[in-house]
Symmetry: D2
Subunit: 336 residues, 4 copies
């Protein structure tokens, strides 16, 4: 039984991680931490857990951590993560980090995107990027895994097969993405106040979202070619899920059938990727770790649709998938 | 053309009032005020008004107010209202006040319910209670109208006909009410954060909500008998509307048909009350000033269903109805 | 490993049952049936199951059924159920039936409520009523379990403790219930067409819903006293969940604290009942098998709030709880 | 007072048209028609209209029509429209037709897209395309106006200014559109059944939607250059509104500021177009006749966001705008 600590256990990704671990046959939540002012019974923070998890959220204590846990799932925001992750590693734990702090290999890029100095260059260099479908071999054996962003997960898994076969021009890719409101986190704000957000839909940060360079990096790492993606996120009035409609310029002649077969072949051994013959419906992936992908050719463009649950494959589910890998458990355990 | 000032023009009831006045053929919004830190172009506060209303929200200036407006619709919260209303009246305006400050005739009751000293007893004594279907004669000629609460509007209009005919026992009434989330106002909070409130439903303040004594007072005033209502509000994941299911002990034998006919007869001249032969659907009243009421007898109880839009008949629409009355305009003007 | 057949595998309760069984460590879905015209790959009916369940939905074949399954979860509508249940039992399976056909002991009452002749009186007499918290001893050892209705589950678990202690008058109980739209089933209709139902809320069948006599029966069976409930269901614009606000006349003096302690004591060993000190929020029970109950005393009434997921504790989860019991598995297995 | 008949008065666009006309100071609904089997009091079809409109929906009678109405707003579906429109015109009425039957000038194109023979070529040749911001001069004086499709309205108003100035390459335009569920009409179907559509989002008909050639035609007519748009519609779980995110290849160097100023200048006299400095929020346009447009340059693309209410500017509001024009009323009357 793998003993799991959750660091920063007060947000939606922590809640989702706990829900998923409660169903996991070989892992157990043993330790929950947060800032002192946020602590208390986990059921006072997440009343839905009453009757299922009898633990307190406590201020972090590294001795307790070492005694209680084998692996830490670190749900802190960026900047806070790189303060704690070195301590978690020094305490002897394996770590899956949800933040952006260990995702971008290039420290200067990180600092320019996140407007903060990177203080843990050593571990940054060692971190595996936790997108198993693309980088599984590097995750096996890692002690620190940088869990990918939600939008980049959906985008890169949709794009890599076509890019590998040089079917699309890597400098001319538009990712039109829509996320549910849980993607904005658990902090109340006017924009996400129910009477404002309900029945609403809008784009934000077109071309300037922090996930854009992350997508570029993944594609470059996976395919070995520089890419340039225009990433335009939107938010819509549903709880969960990300749906991306991706528009690419073809680099060669390809039919819809050829493209579909390429994707089916490419992902035939991937348990969490479902290649589909029509655009995915978001509701079919919510509360699952699946990525539903439909590639097609239409109107002179290669168009690829992908859908995930932002809190599962886009965060907590993928973290558990990574945890399974680094803890030598079957990769799909607790996730199907 | 009646010139209208809106005092406290930054919340949902102010926005709704503006929307309604934009369609009103004989009234015009001329002056908008708020606290200095909330001021600016009204379209920066409510972008939906761009292209329709070119006004700034300004700190209140009583000289300007007198020059610009005939009537003030005061959208301030309780306590703030009674600071400003005397000044508005002294400035020579007629006032419709949205807050609770002038609703409860009994100052001691007000102070016990709202936990604040009442500082304007003089005007309290003069205020008309602005439920035209019950107290029209007192509103005509008033200079200060206390606009009723949303829940009490739906409850009292549903109950008065049966009570007047002594068909129900006034000490044994349960009002089970459900409101849309806009009823909670425009201030962001965790409970109304979209991912929390969406797909949610819950009761709050059962038997202790501040509208309970207001309902009791209206019924007592309208019928001349002491009443005792148990009021249990709930909130559900929709923007607008209040639906109430009201359970009463019959005081005499009555059939569903008799009850229905009583209500039809009682309200046959009321343009905003629709007596129905089946339970109302909320969506039929949203964005209207109607009250849909279905009275019936079933399972040994008199059961009355009523539905309104909390922002229209429950607030801004009713305020304009009152404004029409005190400004000698046709009561339904701009509201059908 | 218990092998499970699902009979009538095309509706929401079947889909939910499959989802729950996929997580169950000691049960496995082995056989799915439907009417011939509805058959095909289960993933064509429920695309969300792709990659998780590779089975066809087939026309029922009793030989196959016997070979493939130990227990049948029968998700047929009433009337169809009593045609198939005898065959399922004759085939040697244990059966949990989701329909109303085996719930009402009194055949004449069934026939008057459901307007259809009961054709399986023999099995009706043998069926256990599958509300484990009230009738566990009768379920153990049963071969046919009548899974309760969703509304009656929430109502009766909320009422029984107060009734047993004679704290409320059994002839004066109002159950005001609200259900999510999935309660209406998977058949499209104008009333549940998205643009009609979204942002809507309404009562239906006040005092005449078929679940009303079922509630009366459960209370009578559990407490040994005749009861009379007025049941008024509503539907609201959310997917899942039932919330009930129940209003009772006290039969004796009782404080909120005494009532709360009574419920806590009564249900202290029940893993799926959470007695709460404030009204439950629906979202805390959705996708769980919990019943959240808050009993209180206010305004001269005993008021009890309860919340369940209509598809889990109100249908599929409770069916699996019953299956666990009759198959000698731990009662909570796969459900926490 | 303009007397208005609504032909085909049982769908969402008819209901919206009635709502808008009830507020129109110089127009009045006088005659409502539908197929015989759909007739009855308009309030039995749309209960929200009770107390506001006391008319029956009747089978069409051309003599009555001539006597009662000056203008017909024809809300029939395509194919049915071209059967009735000639009769409406022969009866001496001006007509605004909501269907696609008179939108595409090229009869062969119409027949290939809509898979039906065009039976009214004469009137097709005379019909004005009812997008006033682009073709106002042709609408003035027309007796038959083809009201545009909802998606094409939002797309073409967003694209024309950039195309006119040759800022974008007309052969490389992607229109990613999202519509609320009311766009699917009032006929119930599984895909739009509340429990299926709620919390859902998906693309449909990518590159093959019937509005794609309509967009191409508008752009060609307005700019005088052949265009090629890839149109990819999606549907999301809200009632109303269309939001489009449009991606174009720049044809020349342009800064965001230049583009914004171009749009501001181009539309400075258009009362229903609001050029914005950030992406529009859908909720700011719902229930209005506005088009909110934000053009920008980012990531090497010209990106234009536009938002409308599909039932107002995308259908009924625009029809009334057209009616105002052909009836010599102020164009914005009843619409601000």
């Amino acid at each position: 039984m793998v003993k799991v600590a959750i660091i920063g256990a007060t947000g939606y990704t922590a809640a989702e991680t706990i829900e998923l671990l409660l169903r996991h046959p070989e892992a157990q939540v043993t330790y929950l931490t947060a800032l002192p002012e946020e602590c208390g019974a986990v059921t006072s923070i997440f009343p839905a857990l009453a009757g299922r998890l009898d633990l307190d959220v406590e201020p972090i204590d590294l001795h307790k951590l070492t005694a209680k846990a084998d692996v830490a799932l670190c749900c802190l925001p960026h900047r806070a993560s790189m303060e704690y992750v070195p301590k978690l590693l020094d305490a002897g734990l394996k770590v899956v980090d949800f933040s952006a702090d260990y995702r971008l290999h290039d420290r200067a890029l990180y600092e320019s995107v996140y407007k903060v100095e990177h203080t843990d260059a050593g571990n940054l260099a060692q971190a595996a990027f936790g997108l198993p479908e693309l980088f599984r071999s590097k995750i096996i054996g890692a002690t620190l895994v940088a869990n990918p962003g939600c939008y980049p997960t959906a985008a890169s898994l949709a794009l890599v097969p076509a890019m590998r076969e040089e079917m699309i021009v890597p400098e001319d890719i538009v990712v039109n993405a829509v996320s549910g409101a849980s993607g904005a986190g658990r902090k109340a704000s006017l924009a996400f106040h129910f009477p404002e957000m309900n029945e609403n839909y809008f784009a934000y940060s077109p071309g300037t979202h922090r996930h854009q360079p992350e997508i570029d990096q993944i594609l470059n790492d996976a395919v070995g070619r520089a890419c340039k993606v225009l990433f335009v996120p939107h938010v819509a009035a549903f709880d969960r899920g990300i749906a991306e409609s991706i528009y690419c310029r073809p680099a060669k002649d390809v039919t819809p059938k050829q493209l579909l077969e390429l994707y089916q072949s490419c992902y035939k051994n991937e348990p969490f990727i479902r290649v589909m013959s029509q655009p995915p419906k978001l509701k079919n992936v919510t509360r699952t770790n699946f990525v539903d992908i439909h590639p097609t050719v239409v109107g002179g463009k290669v168009v690829i649709f992908s859908a995930i649950d932002n809190l599962v494959k886009g965060a907590s589910g993928q973290a558990i998938q990574n945890m399974n890998i680094i803890c030598k458990l079957p990769e799909t355990m607790g996730l199907l």
